[in-house]
């Protein structure tokens, strides 16, 4: 493993200044479950790791039924699913945080790090997309916000500019009659990277028979996680039916541009997009309908 | 007398004969007697007075150490089989 320096930053400005100074070869260390492996396997060239875990702003975990969730970028998965109110409000986020790695990984890895790692197959990103999350980014010129679906730009690449870091994620409070669902396909039951992942959120009418709006997101079928915008829009105003869900699934399949690799073949992935989109939508609808 | 079961790939030496009964109290004697009856077969089984690598001897169904000095009972059945490669069964000398 290459040699590098380590700094435990105390404040966001301190971390930002270091990032700005060192450029590409400085990386934020949060959970480290991706970064440490990448450096160890010489897949990333790093001179400086900036540990942000002692910065209060990146450790915020605050949920309010009116204003929604503020999720610090370094908050570990296990802390997220330990909060019942978050489990109730954002079930897709819980679906994802309970399947990232194993329990030991979940003790270190967080959704913010999952997002910054920008893997096309990240389980944490589709839920953020379907939940309409916003990234809060700090940089040399202050803070800015960015919709989460615009954050990843290529495998391992993000919209973060020189000197910028992700501070937190803001997730709006869920609408009434809404819920969400995330699932992935893996050959084993744990410890695998998604062959395909699909997330969906739906808001139903009061009768819970018609879809008011929906959002669908996909993982591992393109260079970045995808917001399936057309497939989502197709469902707005539709009565719940297999036909409507099939149409959305087909629209989702249409935007998938998967590759073949050791985790799955392109044709398998395209097929699975249809299967998982249906299951995610049905799962989210079921959750709304099951809620009293 | 012991019986030698000729491996299929060596039956061309014996005119297709599968089981040959011949005298011998050790593997060496049996092979020598086999050679005098079917010339050329010893060369396929042995080199420099040792069993060739890749060939194993079973006597009455039991794997032996592959030594030509191995004793052979009067009613023994002897098999020459491919030695089991892949790390399992060829004992070292």
């Amino acid at each position: 493993m290459q040699d590098f320096s380590y700094v435990a930053a105390k404040t966001v400005p301190e971390a930002v200044a270091l990032l700005d100074e060192k450029g590409e070869k400085a990386r934020i260390l949060a959970g480290g479950t991706d970064l440490i492996v990448q450096v160890r396997e010489a897949r990333r060239d790093v001179d400086l790791m900036i540990d942000v875990k002692s910065i209060p702003a990146v450790n915020v975990l605050d949920y309010n039924a009116d204003t929604g969730l503020t999720l610090g970028a370094a908050v570990e998965c296990y802390k997220i699913y330990a909060v019942d109110a978050i489990c109730d409000a954002y079930p897709s986020l819980i679906d994802a945080t309970t399947i990232i790695g194993g329990t030991a990984i979940q003790g270190r890895a967080g959704v913010g790090g999952n997002l910054c790692n920008a893997s096309p197959a990240a389980d944490g990103i589709p839920p953020l997309i379907v939940l309409n999350a916003t990234c809060v980014i700090a940089g040399p010129n202050g803070e800015r916000e960015l919709p989460v679906e615009q954050f990843c730009t290529a495998p391992g690449q993000t919209a973060l500019e020189k000197g910028e870091m992700l501070v937190s994620l803001k997730v709006p409070a869920p609408a009434s009659n809404s819920s969400s669902f995330y699932l992935r396909f893996i050959p084993r039951n744990e410890m695998d990277i998604a062959v395909v992942g699909a997330g969906a959120s739906v808001t139903l009418d009061d009768a819970k028979q018609t879809i008011v709006s929906a959002r669908i997101a996909l993982a591992a079928v393109a260079p970045t996680p995808l917001f399936a915008e057309e497939a989502s829009a197709l469902l707005a105003g539709r009565e719940i039916s297999d036909a409507a869900i099939d149409e959305a699934a087909q629209a989702a399949q249409a935007i998938a541009r998967p590759i073949s690799d050791m985790r799955g073949t392109a044709e398998q992935r395209t097929h699975l997009v249809g299967v998982l989109t249906r299951r995610a939508l049905n799962g989210a609808i079921q959750r709304v309908q099951d809620a009293s | 007398m012991p019986t030698v079961v000729i491996p299929p790939l060596m039956r061309k030496f014996t005119g297709g004969e599968e089981n040959i009964t011949l005298p011998g109290a050790t593997v060496r004697e049996v092979i020598d007697n086999l050679e005098s009856r079917h010339p050329g077969i010893k060369e396929r089984l042995c080199e420099e007075d040792r069993l060739k690598p890749g060939i194993a001897i079973y006597i009455n169904g039991l794997l032996t150490r592959g030594s030509l000095l191995e004793h052979v009972d009067a009613d023994a059945e002897i098999h020459f089989l491919p030695a089991i490669g892949g790390g399992m069964a060829k004992p070292s000398d």
Binding site: M1, Q2, D3, F4, S5, Y6, A8, L29, G31, G32, T33, I36, V37, V39, R40, E41, M49, D51, K53, E76, Y78, G101, G102, T103, A104, I105, G107, R108, N189, E190, M191 | -
Partner: protein, 157 residues
């Protein structure tokens, strides 16, 4: 030569100081600097769980923690589990159930099981299997490991 940092941490209740390079993982520090070789390296990328330790009360893969990150923290390893004259109940259960064969994964499984039972003293079989999925065992087929953890849970119920 790579520079070393001074780190002070608590390991199994004792204050420990060590020097380490930034690139040394907690696993390397435990094994090579402190000679606590109970945590094992099976994969060095968080996929086998053989290096599992408990960091500030939470199960982690020590191969995915930098030694320098443990400044001021508390680490529990397999070496700290038993009392001087008594094994921890999980250790006893592993022995009674023959829940180990080669034993290389055993420290990781025991630490992982401890973290589970600390937070959920009465898990179901499925909860045990879910929690332990990050620990690979190639010898036992997991049957007796799961039974050992179930036994501990039953005893505490």
């Amino acid at each position: 030569m790579a520079r070393k940092s001074h780190v002070q941490t608590t390991i199994n209740g004792e204050t420990v100081e060590f020097l380490c390079e930034s690139r040394q993982s907690l696993l390397e520090v435990l094994r090579d600097e402190l000679h606590l070789t109970g945590a094992k390296e099976g994969c060095n990328n968080g996929n086998c769980g053989a290096c599992s330790v408990i960091l500030d009360g939470r199960l982690v893969n020590s191969c995915l923690v930098l030694g320098v990150e443990t400044e001021g923290k508390s680490v529990e390893t397999i070496e700290g589990l038993a009392e001087p004259d008594k094994l921890h109940p999980i250790q006893d259960a592993f022995l009674e159930n023959a829940a180990l064969q080669c034993g290389i994964c055993t420290p990781g499984f025991i630490m992982s099981a401890k973290a589970l039972l600390d937070s959920n003293p009465n898990p179901t079989e499925h909860e045990i299997r879910y929690w332990l999925a990050g620990n690979l065992c190639r010898c036992t087929g997991y049957d007796k490991i799961v039974k050992a953890v179930l036994d501990v849970a039953k005893a505490s119920a």
